[in-house]
Amino acid sequence: MSRSVLVVGSGASAVHFAQSALAKGWSVTLLDVGFEGPDPGLPEAHFGELKERLDDPIRYLLGEKYECTLLPGAKGEYYGTPPSQEFVFRELEGHAYAASGFAPLFSWARGGLARAWTGGCYPFNEDDLSDFPFGYGALGPHYSEVARRIGISGAADDLARFLPIHEHLLEPLELDEHSRDLALAYQRNRERINRLGCYLGRTRVATLTRASGERGACTYLGRCLWGCPVRALYTPADTLEELGRYPGFAYLPGWRVRLFRATDGRVDRVVAEPVGGGAEREFAADRFVLAAGALGTAEIVLRSVHAGTGEIVRLTGLMDNRQVLVPFVNLRMIGRPFRNDRYQYHLLGLGLRTAEPREYVHCQLTTLKAAMMHPITQRLPFDLGTAAAVARLTHAALGLINLNFHDTRRSANHVTLEAAEDGSLRLAIRYQPDAGETGRLAQALGRVRKALRLLGCIVPPGMQHVRPMGASVHYAGMIPMAPDGRFTTDENGRSRDWDNLWIADGATFPFLPAKNITFTLMANAARIADAAF
């Protein structure tokens, strides 16, 4: 029996596939670019102490060239990537793409895009999985297994109607003062808010509330955005470190896999180029697993088809979650002192029931504690001295809701290759939203505003922000699990085009519910390794 498998990528899907395959006795080699970031340093200092104790806090918080200062005129986002996390989105020399209607983010980091995630772990339910070739019964045990591996905190509360309860759920994180106030307001107005089809509860986050192995429990330093120094917030790099203990495991960073070569419907080897230049090298194995992220995997398939046959194909069905950011002010919190030694990411979630259950809208509520204030202060219509004073008095009252919307596979949304100006082939990404999106967004936003009013909050006019497609980085759908067809896989991610090739990332998802997909990517990758290896 063949026992060696080569995995492309080191993100959430790759490492959990690898862990399950290693546990079954396979030898696993991970090929990856593997950019790494700086050590967070000062593991006991909370966010405010960083400003006191670092030699050059402005450099640390704003960057070498002050690039993390959000200057007026910068369109769109409220926040950029902090300097300490820039490695996650560092560009790879020689990687080119063109995009229309889509603002893609690529990561070549060790651990992938989830090195900069906010930890949301939302299991899909039967409605979410209705287009998948399996139901919750097949995925549930793998959610539990991944929860055991990475540590997920949460609670069985009103959100459980949308988020199934799996095993190994840790007790939830402590609420900060503002989040606690919102939770109490919900209890007081629960019936009225529920009548809007809105349900509030604790989010599920991959953050430890109890120490596990070399990772510490959350110590509420408020440094989530800059990289957790105690590693309470899980990233795939944690699993990658664990994998090193298996004798059959090899991690080879510094390689960008461009394509694979196949003979008679079987992949023989992958072709990789060294990061920084040099001669290409080929890597052979018995089985191959693409887990480079949906866009990365699609690009490898496109280039492999072109290299093998000269054909330029189109992979359709690209999906991503539309996100809308809605800032709010909790009137009860105005003038109250705030503390920045608190968990900074979302602690509460708001679920919006919909007539069609698959169109569920999931919202994350983040109260502002340690985040930089100048991106918000400058949006107030006052001189900045006044605006800074207003921001100071309202800081404890500020929050942000991030609404997530589902997406479906549509043929207009695709990836392909096209000729660049220099004659080389580059990835081309095309996306356009469906006709009903505007109405769907407006309807959900109206309900969220009403729910916020019942929670004692107001939404400042003109400050909501519809993020561009691509911003949520929940890419999926171009090589779906489907009953048949070219560029599809079977229910276990096995390619219908190449016999010994599996796809273990979001490229195989036939539907994208309004939930961060990372947890499902991990569970599905573990499921594939269990079922097919």
Binding site: I58, L62, I334, G335, Q378, F382, L384, T394
Partner: protein, 144 residues
């Protein structure tokens, strides 16, 4: 702009933003940002006028900033002020002045109301000062 003028500008703007003088560290970083980035070079005569006017005194800075907040949010003056604000909130002891609150809600609401009133008055005065200047010099960010 030479270092001496930038240092003076940093002092005046810091007084406008948080009511105190900047530390040496912030002043150094402010100068450095002007060296490594091109975002802070005035692009028009009116931009230059706004920056020069604002650098005179903290009150002048506040007046020019009030105008920019509504009518020229992308102006160079506003960029300089946002940069400085970002620096001030990033380091001790300045960040504390941007965070400390008494906890008294009545005072907070009164403070918000009072500041809103003053800001509205400032905007009115700034219109009287800067509309004629803008007519003479052209809009911020346009022309040389």
């Amino acid at each position: 702009m030479n270092d001496h003028r930038l240092a003076r500008e940093c002092r005046v703007f810091t007084r406008h933003l948080i009511g105190t003088a900047p530390g040496e560290y912030v002043a150094e970083r402010y100068l450095d940002a002007h060296r490594v980035r091109t975002d802070f070079t005035p692009r028009s005569r009116f931009d230059r006028f706004l920056c020069s006017f604002a650098a005179m005194t903290p009150l002048a800075a506040r007046l020019a900033d009030a105008w920019c907040a509504v009518f020229a949010p992308g102006s160079v003056l506003r960029r300089k002020l946002v940069l400085l604000l970002a620096m001030l909130e990033s380091c001790a002891p300045h960040y504390r002045r941007l965070e400390d609150v008494s906890g008294n809600r009545t005072l907070a609401f009164a403070g918000l109301f009072g500041r809103g009133l003053v800001a509205a008055l400032l905007l009115l005065v700034s219109v009287l000062v800067f509309v004629p200047a803008r007519i003479v010099l052209g809009p911020a960010g346009a022309g040389k």
